[in-house]
């Protein structure tokens, strides 16, 4: 394109984002200028990034070296197929979110719009740089800039204690994860001090060191992605952040962690050992199951979605685990199938989760309410948001014909081939894991129905909801864009996968393109049509045609008369909106069936209570099993250590004296 390499163009895009951000500081208080000029321009750049990502898929890798960086280690950049996949994800998802933000950010809330603009675009630019980095230092710098800018975005409304706490927790875990990643790079340099990825690729590590690198990467990137047990920041940070930021974090930022994990496990480290896959599989399953169960019992709509993100990341990790297992046994075609599922799910999740988070943003704007228990019936007031959110929840529940199903289908196909593994234990365990994946998907349906049904359907639970308004034009544009992404990814998987093929081929040397090209563009049959096939377009078309024909026939043969009346409800129609299920009520079966999984504090009304009330609070076991004990331990250690500073000078002198004596007596050369 115009003599520029794609990499240059992406670099220009990153710089342009930075410039837009800084431009926001020119008039930090001017919301119109920032929201309606800068953000749309940022969105246009996002589309550009997405297009370049598409163009770069299949093209040979491009590298560049910048003038900045450490001495002897200037920033190395590289655009290969794997980065291109995630760049296109970043570009297209952020485009929708930026357009939406143009209508979302308003005056007078916490951080000034100009600052918000800086943080937002810095966030985008650093995510892009994470994808392009080709040495450990550049990667870490971009990675932490990403964490930092998103932290400031999360704490936009920093006047509230709980938002600050959420931001703190987020940054803390991000930082610890980052140290893990850094150590992983430390392992991979092999002590040679060459931090370029190219050098790491060339490095031959012993299996022990390779395993250390993989585990560190899993922990480090897992902390960012939200793998159990490092997920605790996620359900705190997402509700605290403004909705576009939640969308960006959930939709895009979590994927950069996946990108990093893929980069390390398939590109930088050569050897793959089968148990890595099992570890990833187990962690992924635990994460997915945990995420979805907690997502079903939430009462805050953004927390619900945050837990759902944990679930989806878990599924992606399951896919990575499967890929690793196949890859370890050199079954590259199958590994490519699983990896395609992973990449596709990244794309799909970026679309639908961003969409859903943005919908909650509109709801939040219209109602000032995040608690599910105070919403309801918004489909009447916000039809645009409601219908677009419907696409989001169908994809989120992993149902045909939308995007979420494609990746789940591919993943399950991958599982079906696991009996061909030359390892009896894996043969047995892996199919059962598939059943758990299905359980997770089905529970996700439960969560999504709860989310949608309680927010948009039913009667309005609070009278104030009558004043709710639909999303504005900018917001609608963003939502429509993401809906389009979700639908297109859902109905046209084959062309997309043909593109993704370049990435799997780069990492594994195999891909699905050959088999896919044999069939039509509308058909998805990764191995062969006899083996398994899925034609979402046909599914959609059939349902649509039957719908139309039935409707026409019914009207033609009978009539289309409609009357309005009170609901029947077995004669209880006089019940008000409070008779509907609350958020807690809806998830009661889950709490009951999976009781040991939750930590609950419940209050039941007594028989003669004047004002009976029922309440339930569900808490994360990991807090009580993992984090609080650690915090307590740290606290008691520090209590002990603090005693060192007791204020008495004689004691201080004694420390010095004893140190000296010890050294004199013990430390002989």
């Amino acid at each position: 394109m115009f003599g520029f390499l794609s990499l240059d163009l992406l670099l220009i895009a990153a710089v342009a984002w930075l410039v837009i951000g800084v431009a926001g500081l020119l008039a930090p208080g001017n919301t119109r200028f920032i929201a309606q000029l800068l953000f749309p321009v940022g969105a246009a750049i996002g589309i550009g990034v997405g297009l370049i990502g598409i163009a770069a898929l299949g093209a040979p890798a491009e590298t560049a070296v910048l003038a900045i960086g450490l001495p002897d280690l200037p920033f190395h950049l590289r655009l290969d197929n794997l980065s291109a996949v995630f760049a296109l994800l970043l570009g297209f998802a952020s485009a929708g979110i930026s357009v939406y933000s143009a209508g979302y950010f308003r005056e007078g809330k916490g951080t000034a719009p100009g600052l918000l603009c800086v943080e937002y675009h810095l966030f985008l630019a650093s995510m892009l740089m994470v994808l392009l980095a080709d040495d450990a230092y550049a990667f870490m710098v971009a990675w932490e800039c990403m964490a930092l800018s998103s932290f400031f975005l999360v704490t936009t409304d920093h006047r509230h204690d709980e938002i600050r706490r959420a931001g703190f927790l987020y940054l803390l875990i991000a930082h610890i994860g980052a140290i893990g990643i850094l150590l992983c790079f430390g392992v991979m340099t092999g002590g040679a001090g060459d931090y370029r990825f190219a050098a790491m690729r060339a490095m031959e590590l012993t299996p022990a060191w390779s395993s250390a690198a993989f585990l560190l990467a899993l922990a480090g990137f897992g902390a960012k992605a939200g793998l159990v047990p490092l997920h605790v920041w996620l359900p705190e940070a997402h509700p605290a952040a403004p909705s576009p930021v939640s969308a960006l974090m959930s939709g895009v930022m979590l994927k950069t962690a996946i990108y990093g994990l893929l980069r390390v496990s398939f590109d930088l480290v050569h050897t793959t050992i089968w148990w890595w896959g099992v570890v990833a599989l187990a962690v992924g399953l635990a994460t997915a199951l945990f995420g979805v169960l907690y997502s079903t019992v939430q009462s805050d709509m953004k927390r619900l979605l945050a837990y759902s993100s944990i679930e989806n990341i878990g599924l992606i990790a399951v896919g990575i685990g499967l890929t690793l297992v196949f890859h370890a046994y050199r079954m590259e075609a199958l590994a490519a199938l699983a990896l395609t599922a992973v990449l596709y799910h990244c794309l799909a999740h970026a679309g639908f989760k961003s969409l859903l988070f943005l919908c909650t943003g509109s709801v939040l704007h219209a109602t000032k309410e995040r608690s599910l228990g105070k919403l309801g019936g918004l489909i009447h007031r916000m039809p645009w948001v409601a219908w677009l959110a419907l696409a989001g929840i169908i994809a989120g529940a992993g149902l045909p014909p939308l995007s979420g199903f494609v990746s789940e289908w591919l993943l399950l196909q991958g599982f079906l081939f696991s009996p061909s593994l030359p390892h009896p234990w894996l043969n047995m365990i892996v199919p059962v894991a598939a059943a758990l994946v299905v359980l997770v998907a089905a529970l996700a349906g439960f969560a999504m129905v709860k989310f949608y049904g309680i927010i948009f359907l039913g009667q309005m639970r609070e009278p104030a909801l009558k004043d709710a308004h639909d999303a504005g034009p900018w917001e609608k544009a963003g939502l429509v864009w993401l809906t389009l992404v979700t639908v297109l990814l859902g109905v046209l998987p084959s062309p997309v996968i043909l593109r993704l093929d370049a990435a799997t081929r780069q990492l594994l040397g195999a891909g699905l393109a050959d088999t896919l090209r044999e069939q039509g563009w509308w058909m998805l049959a990764p191995i062969s049509a006899e083996r398994a096939s899925y034609e979402p377009l046909l599914v959609l078309a059939t349902i649509a045609v039957v719908l139309m024909v039935t409707r026409w026939l019914v009207r033609a043969l009978y009539h289309g008369r409609v009357r309005r009346g009170s609901p029947w409800d077995c004669g209880y129609h006089f019940e008000g909106p409070r008779a509907q299920d609350t958020a807690e009520g809806f998830s009661q079966p889950i709490r009951r069936i999976f009781e040991p999984m939750f930590r609950m504090e419940r209050h039941f009304p007594a028989a003669r209570d004047k004002q009976p009330y029922y309440s339930v609070k569900v808490e994360d076991h990991f807090w009580h099993w993992c984090y609080l004990p650690i915090a307590r331990l740290a606290n008691s250690i520090s209590a002990m250590i603090v005693a060192l500073q007791g204020g008495r000078i004689a004691v201080y002198l004694m420390y010095s004296f004893i140190t000296l004596l010890l050294l004199l007596l013990v430390a002989r050369p």
Binding site: I394, G445, Y534, L538, I543, R563, G565, D569, A579
Partner: protein, 318 residues
């Protein structure tokens, strides 16, 4: 690629499904009445019902949204699609590549979500109750169903339903113990999915126990007709699926027109027997509490997994 006979067979299968489905529902009702020593309703009662409902005005609750009105059509569409995919008469189905066994589960799931959402739409206590219970049954049944399909898919090395059926129908007579487990599990799941006793009772509006009926309480007129029709289609699809998977004999292998014709009476016969057995099951069992349902479906899941393991352990080299 798509043969004309295949297309004819496909259209014929769909038409047959639309026609036979209410009949099957009627037949099961009749059998139930016989078994319970009641006087039986007419066999064609479901057709009268549908006709009557289509004729009636729709009474929409005040709070009903457009989603409420669209849902019956979507659900009906899903069920028609499901019936088109399941090999009933022949395995030469042009629609079959659209969705394999996994996607079929997805299509059922889609219908479930819409009916649950529709149940919640008016905002009544029973509607939301039904919606939540329906989703409960759904997430319990789906993994079990998938495990059944997994077992079969491993036997046939395919998830495509026609391929599975063809493989099973034309194999040598080998006893697959795994199939027995899978068959029982499938029966359990079918009962739950189709709102039959012991999980649900289609014939009652007893408020504390109903699931399916609770969701559709607010429907009337043509909407209710479509939902009832869709429900019978679902029963039909499940029955045919069960028959095709576990008793696949007689399903026409391809463009054999004679075999296709011959398959029809065989199918009707099998459905009649199946319907009778279903009625039998419903008669000897009592409706269980809603929180026994997880145990019931958990058993189904265990059986399916056992089937899978048996398949891996005993039959891997068969």
């Amino acid at each position: 690629m798509i043969s004309v006979s295949g297309l004819i067979g496909q259209v014929f299968a769909i038409a047959l499904a639309l026609l036979l489905a209410p009949l099957l529902a009627g037949w099961v009702g009749q059998c139930r009445a016989w078994l319970q020593s009641r006087s039986a309703p007419p066999l064609l009662l479901p057709y009268y019902m549908l006709h009557k409902l289509f004729n009636k005005d729709v009474v929409l609750a005040h709070g009903a949204s457009s989603l409420f009105r669209a849902a019956p059509f979507i659900i009906f569409g899903c069920m028609v699609l499901a019936c088109a995919i399941v090999p009933t008469l022949s395995t030469d189905l042009p629609f079959a590549p659209a969705a394999d066994a996994l996607a079929l589960v997805g299509v059922f799931g889609l219908a479930r979500i819409f009916i649950a959402l529709a149940g919640m739409d008016v905002g009544t206590s029973f509607g939301t109750l039904g919606g939540r219970r329906e989703m409960l049954v759904g997430f319990l049944a789906e993994p079990a169903l998938l495990m059944v399909f997994f077992t079969l898919a491993m036997i046939a090395q395919s998830t495509s339903l026609p391929t599975i059926v063809e493989t099973l129908a034309h194999r040598e007579l080998v006893i697959y113990p795994s199939l027995a487990f899978a068959g029982v599990a499938f029966t359990f799941v079918s009962l739950a999915e189709n709102a039959r006793v012991p999980v649900d009772n289609p014939a009652t509006h007893l408020e504390l126990t109903m699931i399916h009926e609770a969701m559709i309480l607010e429907y009337s007129g043509r909407h209710l007709a479509l939902i009832e029709w869709a429900a019978s289609l679902k029963l039909y699809a499940y029955s045919c699926l069960g028959l095709a998977l576990f008793f696949p004999w007689g399903i026409a292998p391809g463009d054999d027109f004679l075999a296709l014709v011959a398959a029809i009476p065989l199918l009707v016969l099998k459905l009649a027997i199946g319907g009778f057995l279903l009625a039998g099951i419903e008669t000897v069992n009592a409706k269980m509490r809603i929180f026994r349902a997880p145990e019931f479906l958990g058993t189904a899941f265990m059986l399916a997994v056992l089937g899978l393991l048996v398949r891996l352990l005993l039959e891997a080299r068969v």
